[in-house]
Point group: C2
DNA sequence: GGCCAGAATGTAATCGTTTACATCGAGATG
DNA sequence: CATCTCGATGTAAACGATTACATTCTGGCC
């Protein structure tokens, strides 16, 4: 493959001049510049970015470490990240399926010299892990607690969102509200559970462990958890799933069992993935501006990269919004029902 | 940030020895190796991959150029790509939103020196564009015609799938079958249209231009197209959308118009994205093994990378499968239970 | 024509690695 | 004891660019 030297030789100039043409073309006389461009084109020359970034110590690339790539949530996050990064002239290196600390640290090392900064979404990373990693590489944590404020982060208002949704169910008259919990050790999962508890406490409900089931954030987990919950006596009248995937699993289970939603069981999710409004019945959920999440994280990271020296640690949180659809049993505007007032369920 | 020289100095050895420890550790005496590893850890040293790949001319990275990142189709493709690439120790650099030829060529140049090969998914790339690009970079085309066999490609059996689906609708007794066409100039779109025509021809139906509407592969486009189609007299009794997104738009439109599916209008899509089975009614579609598509492409690309010299051009096609659900009006199994996915959702 | 300023271009060091080749010791061999 | 071998380590040249600094042109002015 042609290098800058080949072009220089062929155009009878020095490499410096060729380099200048491809960077600050201004200083090169127009006729030489044109000659060089022609030669470059005929040789199909393109600058070698690896070499370039070695000397400039700038890769124009940011690394994205994710636990997984499956499902609408990640797809949306990445989209937000990509849009913002590209807007600022940055490329994206994406690396997924990092489950334990060891893998993540390995992946972070692997990013050394490839990226200018790192976006890290991982349930079980903590500040300590970051110490085992090439120093002075800006990092932003996604959906993870930035303990001790040592590192930037952007998180979802999980607590508030969950409390609000459970509050909504309570306001509809539900007294036995079950929760399908997210993956163990996951920050979002823990916070949503906390929000659930808070809402119950505020309504002076007795906590009831039998109404809390693990769902692992997966659709299958939601299905299984629902099967368990329906065996509990007295039966819950509402199920709050800590994400939409599990809520979808719950809807499947209820359908298989012949339980009508929302008449005999209210269901609500979290995230408001695009799929939610297409469910039957449409799923009430807590909207998270998912692609914003990614966009904000990139913004923060880019600031960290360009103002490396005096960039103060920051923590942003994206706010959530209650989205009421039919599955929770409240009247709603999705498909306007005939005049029907708020009706207590049982 | 610490470099190999720092480590060498601190451990009182030469850079060569340090390098050897991080590569073929075998030749270094165990006690020196340990000393070096300790020093490296204390300095938080990690090898600079940019420099490394400059000299080895190997980046262990493949570039992925996509038109967009939105929607389940891309999400699945990327997942397949990521899984396979990671399995072979490759990283992914992803770049989306490339619409016209110029942008794509720019993006391809930008990949020079960053990647060992390129996965290119673009409706309007052709063999000629590839000539304007750094030579000898292996490329695999996704869902695009590899005219003249100059370049590897993997494509979907669009023609067969579409013909089969339209044949299915015909077998159900439909005689006026409309099509919502995909994006203009898009290869998949053209092939699916061709399959539609073939099926009609085989049934000796007269082609009717008024039954062909553009939908641009988007949900909104499908909605609009459906509105138009319902104004056609005599009205079609079935709509074949060239992808699921448009079919979903069609379902929305029909619901808004009060047309019952499948009783008064059969609807079918293409791709069988995860959402399809959740629609109301569940959407008949043509299943495409989307993540396989990505996986196969990576496999082909890796072969091209490792056997650069004598790698014969190849073209693979992934096969499709008819998936009959309620929306087409045929008797069919009830909704399948959720897939038992073990995969983590977040 | 000689001089000079400023524009255009060239020279060479540098970025952080890898690796062919050179060197150095130490133990084995005759 | 000289020599040979071989294992461990060091030296230095690449890789392909950028860029400070040096050098060479160019044309304007006296």
């Amino acid at each position: 493959m042609a290098t800058i030297k080949d072009v220089a030789r062929e155009a009878s100039v020095s490499v410096a001049t060729v380099s200048r043409v491809f960077n600050d073309a201004a200083v090169v006389r127009e006729d030489t510049a044109k000659r060089i461009r022609d030669v470059a084109a005929s040789l199909r020359y393109a600058p070698h970015n690896g070499a370039r970034s070695l000397i400039t110590s700038k890769t124009s690339t940011i690394g994205v470490l994710l636990p997984d790539l499956y499902g609408e949530f990640f797809s949306e996050v990445i989209r937000g990240i990509d849009l913002t990064a590209r807007g600022s002239g940055y490329h994206l290196i994406i690396s997924s399926s990092h489950n334990d600390k060891v893998e993540i640290e390995a992946a972070m090392r692997a990013m050394r010299g490839r990226v200018d900064g790192l976006l890290l979404m991982s349930p079980d990373i903590d500040a300590n892990s970051l110490l085992n990693v090439p120093a002075s590489l800006p990092v932003v944590l996604l959906c993870a607690p930035a303990k001790g404020h040592e590192v930037d982060s952007v998180i979802i208002q999980n607590f508030r969102g969950a409390r609000e949704m459970v509050g909504h169910l309570i306001s509809l008259g539900h007294r036995r509200i079950a929760i399908i919990k997210g993956a163990l050790g996951n920050y979002d999962a823990a916070e949503r559970l906390r929000g659930y508890h808070a809402a119950l406490r505020e309504a002076d409900f007795m906590p009831d462990g039998s109404l809390e089931c693990d769902g692992g954030f997966t659709e299958a987990g939601g299905y299984a958890a629902t099967m368990e919950l329906l065996a509990v006596k007295p039966c819950p009248t509402a199920i709050f799933a800590a994400n939409d995937s599990m809520a979808i699993g719950a809807l499947s289970a209820l359908r298989d069992l012949g339980v009508r939603v929302p008449e005999n069981m209210a269901v609500a999710g979290f995230d408001d993935i695009p799929l939610a409004r297409y469910m039957d019945p449409p799923l009430s959920s807590v909207r998270v501006p998912i692609s914003d999440l990614g966009a904000r994280a990139v913004g923060m990271l880019l600031h960290g990269i360009t103002h490396k020296n005096e960039h103060t640690r920051r923590r942003e949180r994206v706010s959530t919004e209650l989205v009421v659809r039919r599955s929770s049993g409240a009247p709603c505007d999705e498909r306007p029902p005939p005049a029907r007032r708020v009706r207590k369920q049982r």
